[in-house]
Amino acid sequence: MSIVNVGALPKTSEGSSLVDKWMVKAHFIAGISFFFLALLAGLVFSTQFLRNYLFPGIEVLSPGRIRMIHTNMAAYGFLANLFFGGLYWAVPRLTGERVWKRSVSIFLFWAWQTILVATFVGQMFGYAQGVEWAETPIFIDPVVVIGVLLMTVNFYVPILRTKEKPLYVSLWYFTAAFVWTGLVYIMGNYLPQFFAPGVAGAAIGGLFIHDLVGLFVTPLGWGMMYYFVPLILKKPIYSHALSLVGFWGLAFFYPLQGVHHFLWSPIPMFVQYGAVTSTIAVEIVVTTVIVNFFMTLKGNGSILKTNIPMRWFYTGMILYFTTCLQCAFQVTLTLQQIIHFTDWVVAHAHLVMLGVFGFWLLGVVTHLWPKVTGREWFSLRLNAWHYWLTAIGTVIMFGDLTIAGLVQGFSWRSLQIWEQSLTASMPFWMVRTFAGTMIVLGQMLWVYNLYRTAKNPKRLGSEVPMLNLEHELAPASMTNPTIAL
């Protein structure tokens, strides 16, 4: 396999007309705004655990409702918006074709933001749906389904029209992600609510929780990595065979794991065993993907010192490997006895949603922001601060809550009075709030930097034709090691 299909993009299509930069920028701005909302909601919620809730006794700001805003805005506001932005950049460039219709893109942009606002306002006013990660009020669900369908068509058109065949790895992931997202959303939001009571609903709800990460976020995330990493490194992915193994292994094993969210429940044991087995199997697949990407990096490792987007990508990959390895162990019926229902799971969720996919998307935005605004970075130092504050904050939160989970699990098993597990958790919850503050602080610096960059009088240089791979690299100043920490 030669360098990414980009090398063979049709010479006729000019970069500027191919990619709709307004769409990319709009989704980035929306995504980062909702990221802030999600982070602040999380931070505010964490103060409840310190018995010093910031807004006590106010119904619409009740901690339970704020928690749903935290998780839902993280998934559908932060990750989804930034993925859409990245797709509007990557898909036209990979296929050499525009997305279906600009009017549809613009309609979808505003529709999606309306859905998000309606979701968190609905949750604040008590209309949440009782399905984890699907707390979007029931009356908004049909709009989401229509939105996802339209988005699918919008991106399938260029993928179907492209003359670049066979499809590049990223496009396998994107193609599959869109089928899965629609099906998963319909399954999770409708079946447990209206058709499948109790235990069957739990099995399907487990599938939904897991598929939302595994079949919506993960394939879009890996699709982005297969696109941006070889471009920035200016060399092809190490092994095409491993790319094939990674994709098909993930496609087969990932959907089979959902029930592992309800182990030791009344769901039939053979279904639980199946979920455990395929979870351990997927770890082997994940290893092949990680090997593929680290072999690609081999010989160019020093780029991580200077190129912050690449640093986000590879940090995310290390954490991806961590979370998947962790998953292969925590999913066993033995460890589940202690860790289920504890903060261990909360730690795991933060590592996946923020530490892996969040980091990748922060890297994508950092990589693309100068290109979509056409401005030089205002400050590379702030980008480095953003990286370190966020990365250290996330790792502290992960380690802290993981240990807290063990403390809670053993406290419960030893039949101490319940409140003992709260008292024992208190120091960990304090550290969690501290780590969350670090993450919020990092984003504040970053947003300031993004704003100043957009207003920067220094232009990025003239519009370079898209086939020039130099243009895909970070601005020259970014490779200066003394500036980028």
Binding site: L183, L256, F341, V346, G409
Partner: protein
């Protein structure tokens, strides 16, 4: 490059996208669903055939408020109260910090009673199911009559008044201005006191089997 059927849109769409997903849905969603379908799903009317004693106590404990919002304690008012209670349980996301699932491990039966079974979830108030995935506070699947209605009310109004180390939020909007429970407050307590009332006898047996010295601290 040779033709590569596996890297085509249609292959990815049909095999990875549709088929693998449907296979997973059938094997880990539909199969348990069809197995559970053998257990009849209880409607609200079915549930109202077993009104727990706590519900009559609720009407006696808060006679004015109960009369005002629900009238007489009967099947109709019971149905109304527990389904409104369940709705508020979801709206306040109680289920994000309280599970409704007792596992056969980790000494959970000793702490809470009978291990939860599939039939106990086969009813309309478990649509969507409320098993939960996190326990900040204790499991509630055997909460029925474990504590008095008054305790539940005081606890909902301001949890730290009753359990000083609690991290549970307060719910003053379940109460009227004069601090008497309103319709929602009565509904939530009716719901909490209903949870596990169907298995009360076996829970009591289980608790009796625990040595007396341990019992108080565990509950």
């Amino acid at each position: 490059m040779a033709k590569s059927p596996i890297e085509r849109f249609s292959t990815v769409f049909l095999v990875a996208g549709l088929s693998f997903f449907l296979f997973s849905f059938v094997s880990s969603g539909l199969v348990p669903w069809l197995m559970m379908n053998k257990i009849p799903t209880q409607s609200l009317d079915d549930l109202a055939k077993h009104i727990p004693k706590s519900f009559y106590k609720l009407a006696a404990d808060y006679p004015q408020e109960f009369k005002l919002y629900y009238g007489e304690p009967n099947a109709a008012s019971f149905k109304e109260a527990i389904s409104l209670g369940r709705d508020n349980y979801i709206a306040e996301a109680c289920w994000h910090c309280h599970s409704q699932q007792i596992r056969p491990i980790s000494n959970e039966p000793q702490r809470w009673g009978k291990v939860s079974t599939a039939d106990e979830y086969q009813n309309v108030l478990q649509m969507p199911q409320m098993m939960g995935t996190r326990r900040v506070g204790p499991d509630l699947f055997r909460e029925s009559e474990r504590r008095s209605n008054d305790w539940q009310m005081a606890h909902l109004f301001k949890p730290t008044n009753v359990v000083p180390s609690s991290v549970m939020p307060e719910f003053p909007w379940f109460f009227s201005a004069d601090k008497h429970p309103n319709k929602r407050g009565l509904a939530v307590v009716a719901y909490l006191q209903w949870l596990g009332s169907w298995a009360k006898d076996s829970t009591d047996e289980m608790i009796q089997s625990i040595p007396k010295d341990n019992r108080a601290s565990i509950q």
